[in-house]
Symmetry: C2
Subunit: 234 residues, 2 copies
Protein backbone atom coordinates (compact mmCIF):
# COMPACT_ATOMS: atom_id res chain seq x y z
CA UNK A 1 0.00 0.00 0.00
CA UNK A 2 2.86 2.34 0.78
CA UNK A 3 4.23 2.12 -2.74
CA UNK A 4 0.90 2.96 -4.28
CA UNK A 5 0.79 6.39 -2.69
CA UNK A 6 3.50 7.46 -5.06
CA UNK A 7 1.23 7.45 -8.04
CA UNK A 8 -0.75 10.45 -6.90
CA UNK A 9 2.05 12.90 -7.60
CA UNK A 10 4.96 11.19 -9.26
CA UNK A 11 7.73 13.82 -9.13
CA UNK A 12 8.79 13.17 -5.58
CA UNK A 13 12.58 13.11 -5.64
CA UNK A 14 12.70 16.00 -3.17
CA UNK A 15 9.69 15.06 -1.07
CA UNK A 16 10.74 15.00 2.55
CA UNK A 17 7.64 13.44 4.11
CA UNK A 18 7.52 9.70 4.55
CA UNK A 19 3.85 9.72 3.69
CA UNK A 20 4.47 11.24 0.31
CA UNK A 21 7.92 10.02 -0.58
CA UNK A 22 7.41 6.31 -1.12
CA UNK A 23 8.34 5.30 -4.64
CA UNK A 24 8.24 2.06 -6.59
CA UNK A 25 11.94 1.26 -7.10
CA UNK A 26 11.45 0.40 -10.76
CA UNK A 27 10.59 4.01 -11.56
CA UNK A 28 13.00 5.64 -9.17
CA UNK A 29 15.68 6.04 -11.81
CA UNK A 30 13.46 8.38 -13.82
CA UNK A 31 12.60 10.75 -11.02
CA UNK A 32 14.28 14.11 -11.25
CA UNK A 33 16.29 13.10 -14.32
CA UNK A 34 16.45 15.13 -17.50
CA UNK A 35 13.66 13.99 -19.79
CA UNK A 36 12.45 15.18 -23.14
CA UNK A 37 9.21 17.17 -23.14
CA UNK A 38 7.53 14.18 -24.77
CA UNK A 39 8.74 11.77 -22.10
CA UNK A 40 7.56 14.05 -19.31
CA UNK A 41 4.20 14.60 -20.96
CA UNK A 42 3.81 10.86 -21.42
CA UNK A 43 4.66 10.18 -17.78
CA UNK A 44 2.31 12.94 -16.64
CA UNK A 45 -0.44 11.48 -18.74
CA UNK A 46 0.08 7.97 -17.47
CA UNK A 47 0.59 8.65 -13.80
CA UNK A 48 -1.04 11.87 -12.70
CA UNK A 49 -4.71 11.13 -13.03
CA UNK A 50 -6.76 8.39 -14.56
CA UNK A 51 -10.26 9.01 -13.25
CA UNK A 52 -12.32 12.11 -12.48
CA UNK A 53 -12.34 12.81 -8.74
CA UNK A 54 -15.81 14.32 -9.09
CA UNK A 55 -17.68 11.57 -10.95
CA UNK A 56 -15.32 8.58 -11.16
CA UNK A 57 -15.30 8.40 -14.97
CA UNK A 58 -12.02 8.19 -16.95
CA UNK A 59 -10.37 11.55 -17.73
CA UNK A 60 -8.60 12.51 -20.94
CA UNK A 61 -5.55 14.74 -21.29
CA UNK A 62 -6.34 17.61 -23.65
CA UNK A 63 -6.24 21.39 -23.84
CA UNK A 64 -9.62 22.82 -22.73
CA UNK A 65 -11.18 25.63 -24.80
CA UNK A 66 -9.62 28.98 -23.89
CA UNK A 67 -6.66 27.35 -22.15
CA UNK A 68 -3.10 27.11 -23.46
CA UNK A 69 -1.94 23.79 -22.04
CA UNK A 70 -3.32 20.27 -21.64
CA UNK A 71 -5.24 19.40 -18.47
CA UNK A 72 -6.99 16.32 -17.21
CA UNK A 73 -10.56 16.80 -18.42
CA UNK A 74 -13.66 14.77 -17.66
CA UNK A 75 -15.90 14.40 -20.69
CA UNK A 76 -18.61 12.96 -18.50
CA UNK A 77 -19.19 15.74 -15.92
CA UNK A 78 -17.16 18.48 -17.64
CA UNK A 79 -14.71 19.07 -14.81
CA UNK A 80 -11.21 20.31 -15.62
CA UNK A 81 -8.58 19.19 -13.11
CA UNK A 82 -5.69 21.58 -12.48
CA UNK A 83 -2.40 20.28 -11.10
CA UNK A 84 -0.11 22.87 -9.60
CA UNK A 85 3.32 22.93 -7.93
CA UNK A 86 3.60 22.13 -4.25
CA UNK A 87 5.20 24.32 -1.66
CA UNK A 88 7.79 22.77 0.66
CA UNK A 89 8.58 24.80 3.78
CA UNK A 90 11.44 24.33 6.19
CA UNK A 91 13.99 26.13 8.30
CA UNK A 92 17.58 26.43 9.45
CA UNK A 93 17.22 26.05 13.24
CA UNK A 94 20.01 28.06 14.87
CA UNK A 95 21.40 27.78 18.38
CA UNK A 96 24.26 30.20 18.95
CA UNK A 97 26.74 29.37 16.18
CA UNK A 98 25.39 25.90 15.47
CA UNK A 99 22.48 24.61 13.39
CA UNK A 100 20.26 21.56 13.76
CA UNK A 101 20.31 18.81 11.12
CA UNK A 102 18.26 15.60 10.92
CA UNK A 103 19.52 12.26 9.63
CA UNK A 104 16.77 10.77 7.50
CA UNK A 105 15.06 7.54 8.55
CA UNK A 106 13.22 7.27 5.23
CA UNK A 107 13.86 7.22 1.51
CA UNK A 108 14.81 9.16 -0.49
CA UNK A 109 18.09 9.98 1.19
CA UNK A 110 17.92 7.37 3.95
CA UNK A 111 20.81 7.90 6.38
CA UNK A 112 21.73 11.30 4.95
CA UNK A 113 21.43 14.68 6.65
CA UNK A 114 18.86 17.36 5.94
CA UNK A 115 17.18 20.45 7.35
CA UNK A 116 13.64 19.99 8.70
CA UNK A 117 11.25 20.64 5.79
CA UNK A 118 8.05 19.27 4.31
CA UNK A 119 4.88 19.97 2.39
CA UNK A 120 2.78 22.92 3.44
CA UNK A 121 -0.66 21.69 4.53
CA UNK A 122 -4.02 23.23 3.67
CA UNK A 123 -5.04 25.94 6.12
CA UNK A 124 -1.47 26.57 7.24
CA UNK A 125 0.75 29.65 6.89
CA UNK A 126 4.25 29.10 5.51
CA UNK A 127 5.85 29.92 8.88
CA UNK A 128 3.46 27.60 10.73
CA UNK A 129 4.32 24.83 8.27
CA UNK A 130 8.06 25.25 8.83
CA UNK A 131 7.50 25.20 12.61
CA UNK A 132 5.37 22.05 12.41
CA UNK A 133 7.91 20.21 10.26
CA UNK A 134 10.68 21.08 12.72
CA UNK A 135 8.59 19.77 15.59
CA UNK A 136 7.73 16.58 13.68
CA UNK A 137 11.20 15.77 12.36
CA UNK A 138 13.45 17.15 15.10
CA UNK A 139 11.06 17.37 18.08
CA UNK A 140 12.31 20.94 18.41
CA UNK A 141 10.42 24.16 19.01
CA UNK A 142 11.63 27.09 16.95
CA UNK A 143 10.89 30.75 16.59
CA UNK A 144 10.73 31.58 12.90
CA UNK A 145 12.93 34.61 12.19
CA UNK A 146 12.80 35.57 8.49
CA UNK A 147 12.18 34.00 5.09
CA UNK A 148 15.66 33.16 3.88
CA UNK A 149 15.65 31.43 0.49
CA UNK A 150 13.24 30.32 -2.21
CA UNK A 151 14.20 27.55 -4.62
CA UNK A 152 12.36 26.64 -7.81
CA UNK A 153 12.67 22.91 -8.46
CA UNK A 154 10.66 23.02 -11.66
CA UNK A 155 11.42 19.49 -12.86
CA UNK A 156 9.62 18.05 -9.83
CA UNK A 157 6.98 20.81 -9.55
CA UNK A 158 8.18 21.96 -6.16
CA UNK A 159 8.92 25.35 -4.65
CA UNK A 160 11.06 25.31 -1.50
CA UNK A 161 10.77 28.16 0.98
CA UNK A 162 13.38 28.04 3.74
CA UNK A 163 13.38 30.24 6.85
CA UNK A 164 15.98 31.21 9.38
CA UNK A 165 14.79 30.11 12.81
CA UNK A 166 15.98 30.10 16.42
CA UNK A 167 15.77 27.02 18.64
CA UNK A 168 13.73 27.92 21.71
CA UNK A 169 15.67 25.54 23.97
CA UNK A 170 18.02 22.57 23.86
CA UNK A 171 15.24 20.01 23.76
CA UNK A 172 15.30 18.13 20.46
CA UNK A 173 15.37 14.54 19.27
CA UNK A 174 14.63 12.18 16.41
CA UNK A 175 11.06 12.34 15.13
CA UNK A 176 9.45 9.46 13.24
CA UNK A 177 11.22 10.39 10.00
CA UNK A 178 14.68 10.89 11.54
CA UNK A 179 17.35 8.47 12.76
CA UNK A 180 19.23 11.15 14.64
CA UNK A 181 19.11 14.92 15.19
CA UNK A 182 22.24 16.89 16.01
CA UNK A 183 23.68 20.40 16.31
CA UNK A 184 26.53 21.15 13.90
CA UNK A 185 29.10 23.92 13.79
CA UNK A 186 30.18 25.11 10.34
CA UNK A 187 33.34 22.99 10.39
CA UNK A 188 31.41 19.82 11.24
CA UNK A 189 28.69 20.01 8.56
CA UNK A 190 28.68 16.61 6.76
CA UNK A 191 28.79 18.20 3.29
CA UNK A 192 29.23 14.87 1.51
CA UNK A 193 26.26 13.39 3.33
CA UNK A 194 23.56 15.99 2.65
CA UNK A 195 20.37 14.34 1.38
CA UNK A 196 19.18 16.86 -1.23
CA UNK A 197 20.81 19.41 -3.50
CA UNK A 198 18.33 22.08 -2.40
CA UNK A 199 19.45 21.63 1.22
CA UNK A 200 23.10 21.68 0.17
CA UNK A 201 22.46 24.96 -1.68
CA UNK A 202 20.64 26.45 1.32
CA UNK A 203 23.49 25.60 3.68
CA UNK A 204 26.19 26.94 1.34
CA UNK A 205 24.28 30.21 0.96
CA UNK A 206 23.69 30.43 4.70
CA UNK A 207 27.36 30.14 5.60
CA UNK A 208 28.34 32.56 2.82
CA UNK A 209 25.92 35.11 4.26
CA UNK A 210 27.09 34.49 7.78
CA UNK A 211 30.67 35.23 6.80
CA UNK A 212 29.47 38.46 5.16
CA UNK A 213 27.58 39.34 8.32
CA UNK A 214 24.23 39.97 6.58
CA UNK A 215 21.37 37.70 5.56
CA UNK A 216 19.33 38.69 2.53
CA UNK A 217 16.48 36.84 0.82
CA UNK A 218 17.65 34.57 -2.01
CA UNK A 219 15.81 33.12 -4.97
CA UNK A 220 17.36 30.45 -7.18
CA UNK A 221 16.64 27.49 -9.42
CA UNK A 222 17.69 23.91 -8.78
CA UNK A 223 18.25 22.28 -12.17
CA UNK A 224 17.62 18.59 -12.86
CA UNK A 225 20.55 16.36 -11.89
CA UNK A 226 22.83 15.42 -14.76
CA UNK A 227 22.01 11.79 -15.66
CA UNK A 228 25.55 11.29 -17.05
CA UNK A 229 27.95 13.13 -14.74
CA UNK A 230 31.43 13.54 -16.27
CA UNK A 231 33.96 11.06 -14.91
CA UNK A 232 36.81 12.64 -13.01
CA UNK A 233 39.84 11.30 -11.19
CA UNK A 234 38.54 12.60 -7.87
CA UNK B 1 -19.87 23.25 -17.67
CA UNK B 2 -18.09 26.34 -16.47
CA UNK B 3 -19.74 26.18 -13.07
CA UNK B 4 -18.75 22.59 -12.54
CA UNK B 5 -15.04 23.38 -12.60
CA UNK B 6 -15.46 24.98 -9.23
CA UNK B 7 -15.92 21.71 -7.45
CA UNK B 8 -12.32 20.62 -7.90
CA UNK B 9 -10.96 23.12 -5.41
CA UNK B 10 -13.74 24.99 -3.71
CA UNK B 11 -11.93 27.80 -1.87
CA UNK B 12 -11.59 30.12 -4.82
CA UNK B 13 -12.52 33.55 -3.50
CA UNK B 14 -9.09 34.89 -4.44
CA UNK B 15 -8.56 32.89 -7.61
CA UNK B 16 -7.63 35.26 -10.39
CA UNK B 17 -7.88 32.93 -13.38
CA UNK B 18 -11.14 32.71 -15.26
CA UNK B 19 -10.61 29.02 -15.75
CA UNK B 20 -10.44 28.37 -12.06
CA UNK B 21 -12.63 31.06 -10.59
CA UNK B 22 -16.10 30.08 -11.72
CA UNK B 23 -18.38 29.48 -8.77
CA UNK B 24 -21.97 28.35 -8.39
CA UNK B 25 -23.71 31.45 -7.00
CA UNK B 26 -25.58 29.46 -4.36
CA UNK B 27 -22.32 28.64 -2.59
CA UNK B 28 -20.59 31.92 -3.17
CA UNK B 29 -21.69 33.33 0.17
CA UNK B 30 -19.71 30.68 2.03
CA UNK B 31 -16.42 31.21 0.26
CA UNK B 32 -13.79 32.91 2.35
CA UNK B 33 -16.19 33.42 5.26
CA UNK B 34 -15.39 32.47 8.83
CA UNK B 35 -16.56 28.91 9.39
CA UNK B 36 -16.30 26.54 12.30
CA UNK B 37 -13.77 23.74 11.95
CA UNK B 38 -16.69 21.33 11.61
CA UNK B 39 -18.29 23.34 8.81
CA UNK B 40 -15.03 23.54 6.89
CA UNK B 41 -14.34 19.86 7.36
CA UNK B 42 -17.84 19.05 6.16
CA UNK B 43 -17.45 21.23 3.09
CA UNK B 44 -14.03 19.73 2.37
CA UNK B 45 -15.48 16.28 2.64
CA UNK B 46 -18.38 17.03 0.37
CA UNK B 47 -16.65 19.05 -2.30
CA UNK B 48 -12.98 18.26 -2.56
CA UNK B 49 -12.94 14.73 -3.82
CA UNK B 50 -15.52 12.04 -4.30
CA UNK B 51 -13.71 9.40 -6.36
CA UNK B 52 -10.17 8.07 -6.47
CA UNK B 53 -8.26 9.59 -9.41
CA UNK B 54 -6.22 6.40 -9.67
CA UNK B 55 -8.93 3.73 -9.80
CA UNK B 56 -12.27 5.58 -10.02
CA UNK B 57 -13.73 4.06 -6.82
CA UNK B 58 -15.31 6.26 -4.11
CA UNK B 59 -12.87 7.72 -1.56
CA UNK B 60 -13.46 8.14 2.16
CA UNK B 61 -12.21 10.96 4.37
CA UNK B 62 -10.21 9.52 7.26
CA UNK B 63 -6.84 9.83 8.95
CA UNK B 64 -4.41 7.30 7.43
CA UNK B 65 -2.19 5.26 9.80
CA UNK B 66 0.83 7.32 10.87
CA UNK B 67 -0.73 10.57 9.73
CA UNK B 68 -2.18 13.30 11.95
CA UNK B 69 -5.00 14.66 9.81
CA UNK B 70 -7.77 13.29 7.61
CA UNK B 71 -7.07 12.73 3.90
CA UNK B 72 -9.08 11.39 1.03
CA UNK B 73 -8.26 7.68 1.04
CA UNK B 74 -9.17 4.99 -1.45
CA UNK B 75 -10.02 1.72 0.23
CA UNK B 76 -10.00 -0.01 -3.12
CA UNK B 77 -6.46 0.70 -4.42
CA UNK B 78 -4.99 2.08 -1.18
CA UNK B 79 -4.04 5.49 -2.53
CA UNK B 80 -3.96 8.46 -0.17
CA UNK B 81 -4.73 11.78 -1.88
CA UNK B 82 -2.97 14.85 -0.50
CA UNK B 83 -4.42 18.30 -1.07
CA UNK B 84 -2.04 21.20 -0.55
CA UNK B 85 -2.20 24.99 -0.80
CA UNK B 86 -1.75 26.64 -4.17
CA UNK B 87 0.77 29.31 -4.98
CA UNK B 88 -0.45 32.47 -6.70
CA UNK B 89 2.28 34.58 -8.30
CA UNK B 90 2.01 38.12 -9.59
CA UNK B 91 3.80 41.43 -9.82
CA UNK B 92 3.67 45.20 -9.48
CA UNK B 93 4.68 46.33 -12.99
CA UNK B 94 6.44 49.69 -12.65
CA UNK B 95 7.05 52.32 -15.30
CA UNK B 96 8.81 55.37 -13.89
CA UNK B 97 6.57 56.48 -11.00
CA UNK B 98 3.45 54.69 -12.21
CA UNK B 99 2.23 51.09 -11.93
CA UNK B 100 0.06 48.97 -14.19
CA UNK B 101 -3.35 47.75 -13.00
CA UNK B 102 -5.90 45.55 -14.79
CA UNK B 103 -9.67 45.94 -14.57
CA UNK B 104 -11.14 42.46 -14.28
CA UNK B 105 -13.36 41.06 -17.02
CA UNK B 106 -14.30 38.04 -14.91
CA UNK B 107 -15.76 37.16 -11.54
CA UNK B 108 -14.86 37.37 -8.75
CA UNK B 109 -14.27 41.11 -8.75
CA UNK B 110 -15.69 41.85 -12.20
CA UNK B 111 -15.05 45.49 -13.09
CA UNK B 112 -12.62 46.03 -10.22
CA UNK B 113 -8.88 46.68 -10.44
CA UNK B 114 -6.10 44.27 -9.63
CA UNK B 115 -2.42 43.53 -10.18
CA UNK B 116 -1.59 40.79 -12.70
CA UNK B 117 -1.44 37.50 -10.77
CA UNK B 118 -2.48 33.88 -11.12
CA UNK B 119 -1.78 30.28 -10.26
CA UNK B 120 1.73 29.00 -10.71
CA UNK B 121 1.74 26.20 -13.28
CA UNK B 122 3.61 22.90 -13.06
CA UNK B 123 7.14 23.14 -14.44
CA UNK B 124 7.30 26.90 -13.93
CA UNK B 125 9.51 29.03 -11.67
CA UNK B 126 7.76 31.65 -9.53
CA UNK B 127 9.28 34.51 -11.54
CA UNK B 128 8.32 32.88 -14.86
CA UNK B 129 4.76 32.47 -13.55
CA UNK B 130 4.50 36.15 -12.61
CA UNK B 131 5.85 37.12 -16.05
CA UNK B 132 3.38 34.85 -17.83
CA UNK B 133 0.40 36.17 -15.88
CA UNK B 134 1.41 39.75 -16.71
CA UNK B 135 1.64 38.88 -20.38
CA UNK B 136 -1.73 37.09 -20.29
CA UNK B 137 -3.69 39.67 -18.32
CA UNK B 138 -2.01 42.92 -19.36
CA UNK B 139 -0.27 41.94 -22.62
CA UNK B 140 2.82 43.49 -21.08
CA UNK B 141 6.40 42.25 -20.96
CA UNK B 142 8.11 42.77 -17.63
CA UNK B 143 11.51 42.24 -16.13
CA UNK B 144 11.06 40.69 -12.69
CA UNK B 145 13.11 42.66 -10.15
CA UNK B 146 12.78 41.15 -6.65
CA UNK B 147 10.34 39.12 -4.57
CA UNK B 148 8.38 41.75 -2.70
CA UNK B 149 5.67 40.27 -0.50
CA UNK B 150 4.28 36.91 0.56
CA UNK B 151 0.72 36.62 1.86
CA UNK B 152 -0.77 33.60 3.61
CA UNK B 153 -4.47 33.34 2.79
CA UNK B 154 -5.00 30.24 4.88
CA UNK B 155 -8.80 30.19 4.77
CA UNK B 156 -8.70 29.63 1.01
CA UNK B 157 -5.49 27.54 0.97
CA UNK B 158 -3.57 30.07 -1.07
CA UNK B 159 -0.12 31.62 -0.77
CA UNK B 160 0.42 34.81 -2.75
CA UNK B 161 3.92 35.75 -3.84
CA UNK B 162 4.16 39.22 -5.37
CA UNK B 163 7.21 40.62 -7.16
CA UNK B 164 8.37 44.07 -8.06
CA UNK B 165 8.79 44.26 -11.83
CA UNK B 166 9.72 46.78 -14.52
CA UNK B 167 7.69 47.22 -17.71
CA UNK B 168 10.00 46.64 -20.66
CA UNK B 169 8.16 49.12 -22.89
CA UNK B 170 4.87 51.00 -23.18
CA UNK B 171 3.11 48.21 -25.04
CA UNK B 172 0.28 46.81 -22.94
CA UNK B 173 -3.42 46.14 -23.32
CA UNK B 174 -6.37 44.14 -22.04
CA UNK B 175 -5.85 40.37 -22.09
CA UNK B 176 -8.77 37.93 -22.16
CA UNK B 177 -9.41 38.34 -18.42
CA UNK B 178 -9.20 42.15 -18.38
CA UNK B 179 -11.60 44.89 -19.48
CA UNK B 180 -8.94 47.57 -19.40
CA UNK B 181 -5.28 47.97 -18.42
CA UNK B 182 -3.90 51.30 -17.28
CA UNK B 183 -0.91 53.02 -15.67
CA UNK B 184 -1.68 54.74 -12.37
CA UNK B 185 0.26 57.26 -10.32
CA UNK B 186 -0.05 56.97 -6.54
CA UNK B 187 -2.68 59.71 -6.36
CA UNK B 188 -4.87 58.05 -8.98
CA UNK B 189 -4.99 54.51 -7.52
CA UNK B 190 -8.69 53.53 -7.34
CA UNK B 191 -8.42 52.39 -3.71
CA UNK B 192 -12.17 51.82 -3.35
CA UNK B 193 -12.25 49.70 -6.49
CA UNK B 194 -9.50 47.16 -5.79
CA UNK B 195 -10.72 43.61 -6.43
CA UNK B 196 -9.03 41.68 -3.60
CA UNK B 197 -7.82 42.47 -0.10
CA UNK B 198 -4.45 40.85 -0.81
CA UNK B 199 -3.90 43.27 -3.71
CA UNK B 200 -5.02 46.20 -1.57
CA UNK B 201 -2.51 45.14 1.10
CA UNK B 202 0.27 44.77 -1.49
CA UNK B 203 -0.35 48.25 -2.89
CA UNK B 204 -0.50 49.89 0.55
CA UNK B 205 2.78 48.25 1.53
CA UNK B 206 4.37 49.22 -1.78
CA UNK B 207 3.59 52.91 -1.44
CA UNK B 208 4.65 52.89 2.23
CA UNK B 209 8.00 51.44 1.19
CA UNK B 210 8.36 53.87 -1.68
CA UNK B 211 7.91 56.81 0.65
CA UNK B 212 10.57 55.31 2.93
CA UNK B 213 12.87 54.91 -0.06
CA UNK B 214 13.60 51.21 0.55
CA UNK B 215 11.83 48.00 -0.43
CA UNK B 216 12.17 45.01 1.87
CA UNK B 217 10.54 41.58 1.64
CA UNK B 218 7.26 41.37 3.56
CA UNK B 219 5.34 38.39 4.90
CA UNK B 220 1.81 38.73 6.25
CA UNK B 221 -1.50 36.95 6.75
CA UNK B 222 -4.79 37.88 5.14
CA UNK B 223 -7.53 36.92 7.59
CA UNK B 224 -11.00 35.78 6.52
CA UNK B 225 -13.37 38.66 5.79
CA UNK B 226 -15.69 39.54 8.65
CA UNK B 227 -19.13 38.13 7.74
CA UNK B 228 -20.84 40.77 9.92
CA UNK B 229 -18.94 44.03 9.44
CA UNK B 230 -19.85 46.65 12.08
CA UNK B 231 -22.28 49.26 10.77
CA UNK B 232 -20.86 52.76 10.64
CA UNK B 233 -22.23 56.10 9.53
CA UNK B 234 -19.70 56.26 6.69
Amino acid sequence: MKGIRFWAFWPVAYQPSSLQASQPPSLFGLIGRRMTKGQRRKLNRIYFMKYCSNCGQPVIHRTPPGDDRPRFCCESCGMVHYLNPKLVVGCIPEMEDRILLCRRAIEPGYGKWTLPAGYLENGESVAAGAKRETLEEARAKVEILTPYALYNICHVNQIYLMFRARLKDKRFGAGAESLEVKLFGENDIPWEEIAFRVIHATLLKYYDDRRLGRFSFHMENISPPNPNPPKTDN
